[in-house]
């Protein structure tokens, strides 16, 4: 529990420290990059689950994640193209990727029900974290109205996935 909490705090620190410190608002190109990265991370996580899990519900959930996040990213890419915005790499995107790689490594060592539980628990935590970043930083900072609207829909999708993951976690018990 404590370890989890401290991991959570560390994550929040990662999210808020480099890019958003001292009232630094991310720019639209950075926001686009962060949103794209956040989606991509969840797709990679789902693919790991599809390669490892034999649980029907976990696999169905992972497939939903691949399908939804691929669609969101398709729309995001279409929008940045239309707006002629070039997504720009930034410390938040890098922190997210680094954290995801560490989580993937951890999950790689687990098998069977232990993997399923850890994957779904991480999905809940990850979606919560992205919800929080969207609500407190990304949406308020977005200056383009269409980008803001895309992020707002993205928030609803992430919140939906978080609840979906919670249902799956309850079933795994």
């Amino acid at each position: 529990m404590l370890a989890k909490l401290s991991a959570c705090l560390a994550t929040l620190a990662l999210l808020s420290a480099p890019a958003f410190a001292q009232g630094n608002k991310p720019t639209d190109p950075q926001i686009a990059h962060i949103a794209y990265t956040a989606d991509k991370i969840d797709i990679v996580a789902a693919k790991q689950a599809l390669a490892k899990s034999k649980n029907k519900e976990v696999r169905a959930f992972a497939q939903d994640m691949v399908r939804d996040h691929s669609e969101v990213n398709k729309e995001a890419l279409a929008l940045v193209k239309k707006l002629k915005v070039t997504p720009q790499d930034n410390p938040t995107s890098r922190a997210l990727s680094k954290q995801a790689a560490a989580e993937r490594k951890k999950l790689a060592k687990l098998h069977g029900p232990a993997f399923d539980k850890a994957y779904v628990a991480n999905e809940i935590a990850y979606h919560k974290e992205v919800d929080n970043a969207l609500e407190t930083t990304l949406i308020p900072s977005a200056s383009n109205a269409q980008l803001k609207s895309l992020l707002q829909t993205g928030l609803k999708i992430f919140q939906g996935h978080e609840q979906h993951a919670e249902h799956v976690a309850a079933d795994l018990k």
Binding site: D68, E71, E75, K156, I157, G160, H164
Partner: protein, 104 residues
């Protein structure tokens, strides 16, 4: 008796023997919202969901009465067989919530 009167009586009789025309009530899904969130209908009516999103959704009754799969940009429907208020949600995004109120 005037012909008009006979005609009226005939219509009354028909009206009593034929149930009211069943309707189709449409619920649009746009950006993860069911619109309207509460749909009013009568037994025998059809509820049709129009999924405008590029994402797959469902309309799943909480009481297990029905489960409609809604592929991206596709529609789905059910015919309402029982009176009552049914809450429903999306299995993929349980934060999506709607209600169908069915009167006899």
């Amino acid at each position: 008796m005037a012909p008009g009167r006979i005609c009226f009586t005939a219509l009354m009789v028909l009206g009593l023997s034929i149930p009211a025309q069943a309707k189709t009530i449409r619920v649009t899904i746009d950006k993860l919202d069911y619109i309207p969130a509460v749909a009013q209908a009568k037994v025998g009516d059809t509820i049709e969901w129009i999924n405008k999103d590029a994402l797959a959704h469902t309309a799943t009754a909480k009481n297990g009465a029905w489960n409609v799969m809604l592929k991206p940009k596709k529609n789905g429907h059910i015919v309402l067989k029982k009176a009552g208020s049914v809450d429903y949600f999306c299995k993929f995004h349980p934060n999506m919530k709607g209600r169908v109120v069915v009167t006899p």
